[in-house]
Amino acid sequence: MYSFELERPTRLADAVKLLSDSTESLPLGGGQTLIPTLKQRLASPERLVSLAGIAELKGVKTEGGTLTVGGGTPHATVAAEAGAYPALAALAGNIGDPAVRNRGTIGGSLANNDPSACYPAAALASGATLVTDRREIAADDFFQGMFSTALDEGEIITAVRFPIPEAANYQKFEQPASRFALVGVFVAKYPDGVRVAVTGASEEGVFRWSEAETALSADFRAEAVQGLSVPAEGMIGDLHGSKAYRAHLVGVMTKRAVAAAKG
C-alpha cells in the first residue's frame, strides 16, 4: 500500500468539499474493492475520503411505495431492515460473507458497478433512482458498462430509492470461487409491467432482458420465458463458464426467479 492521507468527515457537505478540492482524492465507502486494490499497489490516491462516518448517508426507510436506502448503508443493515422489499433484503443478506456485509455499502457497490455484483441487478430491475450529492439519476441511465457509471468524478451516491414491486425475486448462481454472481437475475413485477435485470453474465455489465420483460408482462409465470434465450455473443466467457453457459443460465435463473417471486 502506498502512503495516502485519510479524511473522515462526518457531514456530507464536508466530504463533497474534500472530493472537489485540488488534492487527488477517492471516496472510500466500505472499501471492499478499493482496499484490496490499494494493498496490491494498483492505485495510489493522494487522499481517501471515508464516507463511513457520515450518519446522513445511512439508514433504510419506507414511505408510501418507496424504500429508500442511504448510500452509506451496509449490506447487513439492508438485509435486516428492508423488510418492506423482501427480495432486496434477501439479496443484501446473501452478498459475500458477514465481514463483507458489515463493511460493504450499497453506494459503494453501485458506484463500482462490478459486472458480477448483485446490487446493480436490483437497482436496474426496480427502476431505482440513484440520488447523488448533486442530482438524481435513473437506474436505466446509471449503468454504462463494466465498472462504468454515469457518476462524475467525486460524485457521491447519497441514497437509492426503490419503488416497491408487487412481486420480486433475485436468483444468484454463484461463481464457485468468489461467490459473486456467475449469473444473477432480478425479476420485479410492477403494475405497469415486469422488469428483468441480469448481472454477472454480460461483458457490458448489468443489463435488462427486454424479451423476457415483454413475455412476463403479458404472463407472469415461469412458463412464459420457456424457450426464450439471450445470445451467447457478448456474454462473459472465463474459467468458470463459457459464453454459452452463461447465456443458458440467464434463462434458467429468470425462470426460477419468476417461480419464486413474492410480494
Binding site: M1, Q40, R41, F173, P176, A177, S178, F180, L182, L239, H240, G241, S242, Y245, H248, L249, V252
Partner: protein, 787 residues
C-alpha cells in the same frame, strides 16, 4: 490406566486452547530485535532472458539495507532435489540447477529475481519498484505434450530436452503387459487429467534468518513440516553451514498439506542475508506470493488401460502418464509420480501384470511437488475410475466387479514391488454397504428425481503406502536421505516427561496423541507427558511429518525409547525394593514385586534416578532419559472403501454432495476423535479437488487462478456431514503400535467416488457421459451433458 487419557481415548486436543485463543506462536509472531524485511521482486513473465538488472536507483531509496541478485549467489549451491530417479533405460534423470535467485533466465511467473532488504517492508517494496529489469521475454512452455514435441523451446538451455525422465515400472513387465492387453477379452481405456492444485495452508510461508557474529551460529525460523530436513538440505547443499552452527526452528505451523516439506529459496535467502547484512532478515509471504511460490500439487495427464478376461478378472493394467515438474525440481518432486504413484497401481486388486510409464516434464510453471496424498491420489483416481468405466461397459455392478478382484490373502506381493502386510478389503466393503445404506439408494434416487434432480452413487476403494519409509529400500530407489525417525524420552526427577520427537505437528494433534501412548505404556496420567518438537536444538533428529508417517515411524521410535525407560526404571525399582529385576511389574504408574505387596510409585523411581543416594550406580547410570531411532521394516498400507451420493441439477450442472461415507482400516487407533478429524479434512480436500479447485495457467504461463477470486477452495457448505467409520482394523504387522496412518486417506480416497457418483447421476438421466475431468464445476458438467 484411566481410559480418558490413554490409547483409544478421544482426548480433546490440548493444543487447541492456544490456537483458538490467539496464544499460538507462529513464525510470523517471531520478531527478532533489529530485524530487516525482505521483499522479493519476482518475474512477471513465465520465461525470459535476464539481460540486465539495474538496482542503482533502488539502492538509494530510503531504508534500503542491501539488494541481492542472482550474482550474489554464484558461489552458493542451488536448491537440491532429494530423490534421484533412474529412467527406464538406466540413465539418471535430467537435473537442472535451481538457484536461490534467478541466474540468466527466469522460468516461471513468480521466479525470484532480486531480493530487497530494507528497514521496513514498505520501503523494500518501494525500492523493488525502482529496480530496472531488462528481461527479454521468451516463448513459454506450458502444455506438457507441446513441451515434449521436437524443437520445443527448452525451459533449461543446458538440458537435452524438457524431459526430466522417462520411467517404466516394472520395466521387465512391459512386453508381458502389452501381450496381456492384446489378448484380453475386454479392455477399458480412460484418458484423464488429474488437475494441478494449490495447497493453500491457512498460514502462508514465513522465514526469519538470524546470525550471531559472536558465535557464528545461524538460526532459521521457518514454516516447515520438517526442520531437520531443512537443516540438512540448506546446510549441506546450499549454504555450506555445518549442522552444529545451524539451528532450524519450525514453531507452530498453520497447516502444510505437503507444501511445507520442501526447502525453499526464501529460507536459504533469509539465512544467507542475515549474515551478509549482519541483521536478522524476515520474510512473510502474501497470499498472492503463496500462489506463485509454494510448490503446487498433482498435474498428471494419464491414459490407463484395464484388461479383463472373459470372466471379468483383471489381467493387466497399463498406464501412460505425463507428470508436470514445473520449472525446477522441488525437493521431493521426482519421487511423487514414480515411487509414490507407480507402486500403488495395484490398488486393492489382484492384477497379475502392471506396467506404469511416467514421463516427467519441465514447463514454465511453478514447481510441483507432494500435496496431501502425493502420487497415491493420482494412482487411486485413475484406477478407481477405470474400474467404474469397465463395469459400465460390461454391464456389471461396480461393487461386484471390485469384490471379484479383491486381494484376499495377506501378505500379498504386488506386481509393482511392494508387499501389503495386512488388510481386509471385503470387510471394509461390507461395512461401507451397511453404513452408507446402499440398499436404500434406489428410494433416495426416486425422491431426488421427484424434485427434478439427478441422483448418483459412486463407490471406490483405496490403498495407500504410508509410514514412509524403509531407508534401505528407498535408498535403492534413489532417495538421498534415510526415512527413519527419532524420539528422546526425558523423564524428569519428579516423574513428568518431555518427549522430544522428530515428527512435526501442524494440525495433526501430536501434542495430544503422542502423550496418550506414553501415558498408556507407563500407566501415568497423560497430562504428565508433553511433546517437544519443531526445533533442531531441542530434539535429537527427525525426518518430519508427511506421508502419514508421524505415528507409524516417529511414534514407533517413541515407543522404543519408552521401552528403554521402562527397562531402566525396573532396574531402579528392583534395587529400591531389594528384589530381582525379573519380578518387577509396572502397572497403573507403580512398580511392584510379583507375588508380594511391595511396591514403589513411579515418582519414587524417577526421583531416585536423579537423587541417587540409594542407587545401583555400579550397574546403571543416574538419570532417566533414552533415545531411540526407528527405521520401519515396510510401508504401512491403510485402505478403505468410500461412497458418495450426489444430486446433479440437470438445468445448471451444479453438483451437490448429499452424503459421503468413509470406511477406513487404519489398524490400531490412538485417538478416534482426531482420526475422525483427519478423515474429515482429507475428504474436504478431496471434494475440493473433485468439484472446485483448479490451478490454471494460460498459454503464456500466466496463472489465471491466482487468488481466491478464481481459485475455489472448499467451504463448509460445499461438504456434507460425513459418516466416518474405522471399526475395521487389521493392525500393521511390523510396527509396535500396529498403526498405519490416517492423514492422507480422505484426500486419496474421495475424488473417485465423487466423480463416479456424478457419472452415475448423468447416466441415470439418459446422458451418455463416461468421464468429466476434475473439477466437476457446474459449467463442465453442463457442457458434458450438452456436449
Amino acid at each position: 490406566m484411566p481410559k480418558d487419557g490413554g490409547i483409544g481415548a478421544s482426548t480433546k486436543r490440548r493444543e487447541d486452547v492456544r490456537f483458538l485463543t490467539g496464544a499460538g506462536n507462529y513464525t510470523d509472531d517471531i520478531n527478532v530485535r533489529g530485524q530487516a524485511y525482505v521483499h522479493f521482486l519476482r518475474s512477471d513473465v513465465a520465461h525470459g532472458r535476464i539481460n540486465g538488472i539495474d538496482t542503482g536507483a533502488a539502492e538509494a531509496m530510503p531504508g534500503v539495507v542491501r539488494i541481492f541478485t542472482g550474482a550474489d549467489f554464484e558461489g552458493v549451491g542451488g536448491l537440491p532435489c532429494g530423490w534421484l530417479v533412474t529412467d527406464r533405460f538406466g540413465q539418471p534423470m535430467q537435473e537442472p540447477p535451481h538457484p536461490v535467485l534467478a541466474q540468466g533466465k527466469v522460468r516461471h511467473v513468480g521466479d525470484p529475481i532480486c531480493a530487497v532488504v530494507a528497514d521496513t517492508l514498505e520501503q523494500a517494496r518501494d525500492a523493488a519498484e525502482a529496480i530496472v529489469l531488462d528481461i527479454e521475454e521468451l516463448p513459454a512452455v506450458v502444455d506438457m505434450k507441446a513441451a515434449l514435441a521436437e524443437g520445443a523451446t527448452k525451459v533449461h538451455d543446458d538440458l537435452k530436452s524438457n524431459l526430466c525422465y522417462d520411467w517404466g515400472f516394472v520395466e521387465e513387465n512391459r512386453e508381458a503387459v502389452d501381450k496381456a492387453i492384446k489378448e484380453a477379452a475386454h479392455v477399458t481405456t480412460l484418458e484423464l487429467v488429474n488437475q494441478r492444485l494449490v495447497a493453500n495452508p491457512m498460514e502462508p510461508r514465513v522465514a526469519v534468518g538470524e546470525y550471531n557474529r559472536g558465535t557464528g551460529d545461524h538460526t532459521l525460523y521457518t514454516t516447515s513440516q520438517n526442520p531437520h530436513v531443512i537443516r540438512l538440505l540448506m546446510g549441506a547443499f546450499v549454504l555450506g553451514i555445518p549442522e552444529h552452527k545451524l539451528r532450524v526452528v519450525a514453531p507452530d505451523v498453520g497447516g502444510g498439506f505437503g507444501s511445507k516439506i520442501f526447502h525453499y529459496a526464501e529460507e536459504a535467502f533469509c539465512t544467507f542475508a542475515a549474515k551478509a547484512c549482519n541483521r536478522p532478515v524476515k520474510w512473510t509471504a502474501s497470499r498472492s506470493e503463496a500462489f506463485l511460490s509454494d510448490a503446487q500439487g498433482r498435474d498428471h495427464v494419464t491414459k490407463i488401460e484395464l484388461a479383463l478376461d472373459k470372466d471379468n478378472n483383471f489381467t493387466a493394467i497399463r498406464t501412460d502418464t505425463l507428470a508436470n515438474m514445473g520449472a525446477y525440481l522441488s525437493t521431493f518432486s521426482t519421487s511423487v509420480p514414480t515411487w509414490l504413484h507407480g507402486v500403488l497401481m495395484a490398488g486393492n486388486y489382484k492384477t497379475p501384470l502392471i506396467y506404469v510409464n511416467v514421463r516427467a516434464v519441465f514447463t514454465n510453471t511453478v514447481p510441483v511437488d507432494a500435496y496431501r496424498g502425493a502420487g497415491r491420489p493420482e494412482a487411486t483416481f485413475q484406477l478407481e475410475r477405470v474400474i467404474d468405466k469397465a463395469a459400465r461397459e460390461l454391464g456389471v455392478d461396480p461393487i461386484a466387479l471390485r469384490r471379484q478382484n479383491f486381494i484376499t490373502e495377506f501378505p500379498y506381493a504386488t506386481p509393482v514391488a511392494v508387499e501389503y502386510d495386512t488388510g481386509d478389503y471385503v470387510a471394509t466393503m461390507d461395512k461401507l454397504e451397511e453404513v452408507a445404506d446402499l440398499t436404500g439408494f434406489a428410494a433416495r434416487r426416486k425422491a431426488s428425481e421427484a424434485k427434478g434432480m439427478l441422483r448418483g452413487l459412486g463407490v471406490n476403494c483405496y490403498i495407500e503406502a504410508c509410514g514412509i519409509a524403509p531407508s534401505n529400500l528407498v535408498g535403492q530407489l534413489g532417495a538421498r536421505a534415510g526415512l527413519y525417525d527419532a524420539a528422546t524420552v526425558r523423564v524428569n526427577a519428579t516423574g513428568s516427561i518431555s518427549v522430544m520427537v522428530g515428527a512435526h505437528s501442524h494440525g495433526q494433534g501430536h501434542e495430544t496423541t503422542f502423550p496418550q501412548v506414553v501415558a498408556e505404556m507407563l500407566g501415568i496420567d497423560a497430562s504428565q507427558v508433553e511433546i517437544v518438537h519443531g526445533d533442531t536444538s531441542k530434539i535429537p533428529f527427525g525426518m518430519g511429518t508427511y506421508g502419514s508417517r508421524s505415528l507409524a515411524v516417529c511414534g514407533s521410535a517413541m515407543v522404543r525409547a519408552t521401552e528403554k525407560i521402562i527397562n531402566k526404571a525396573k532396574k531402579i525399582a528392583a534395587h529400591l525394593m531389594e528384589a530381582s529385576e525379573a519380578d518387577i511389574e509396572l502397572k497403573d504408574g507403580a512398580f511392584s514385586v510379583a507375588g508380594t505387596d511391595k511396591s514403589v510409585a513411579w515418582g519414587d523411581v524417577t526421583l531416585a534416578a536423579y537423587v541417587p543416594h540409594n542407587y545401583p550406580l555400579e550397574d546403571i547410570e543416574p538419570g532417566l532419559e533414552e533415545t531411540a531411532f526407528y527405521d520401519p521394516a515396510n510401508f504401512t498400507y491403510p485402505s478403505g472403501a468410500y461412497a458418495c451420493e450426489v444430486e446433479v441439477d440437470p438445468e445448471t450442472g451444479k453438483v451437490t454432495i448429499e452424503s459421503f461415507t468413509a470406511v477406513d482400516d487404519f489398524g490400531n487407533i490412538i485417538n478416534p476423535m482426531i482420526v475422525d478429524g483427519q478423515v474429515h479434512g482429507g475428504i474436504a480436500q478431496g471434494i475440493g479437488q473433485a468439484l472446485l479447485e483448479h490451478c490454471v495457467y494460460d498459454d503464456n504461463g500466466q496463472l489465471q487462478s491466482a487468488s481466491y477470486m478464481d481459485y475455489a477452495m472448499p467451504r463448509a457448505d460445499d461438504v456434507p456431514f460425513y459418516a466416518v467409520d474405522h471399526s475395521c482394523k487389521t493392525p500393521c504387522t511390523h510396527n509396535p503400535l500396529g498403526v498405519k496412518g490416517c492423514g492422507e486417506a480422505g484426500a486419496i480416497g474421495s475424488p473417485p467416488s465423487v466423480v463416479n457418483a456424478v457419472i452415475d447421476a448423468l447416466q441415470s438421466g439418459g446422458k451418455n457421459v463416461t468421464h468429466i475431468d476434475m473439477p466437476l464445476s457446474p459449467s463442465r458438467v453442463w457442457a458434458a451433458m450438452n456436449g
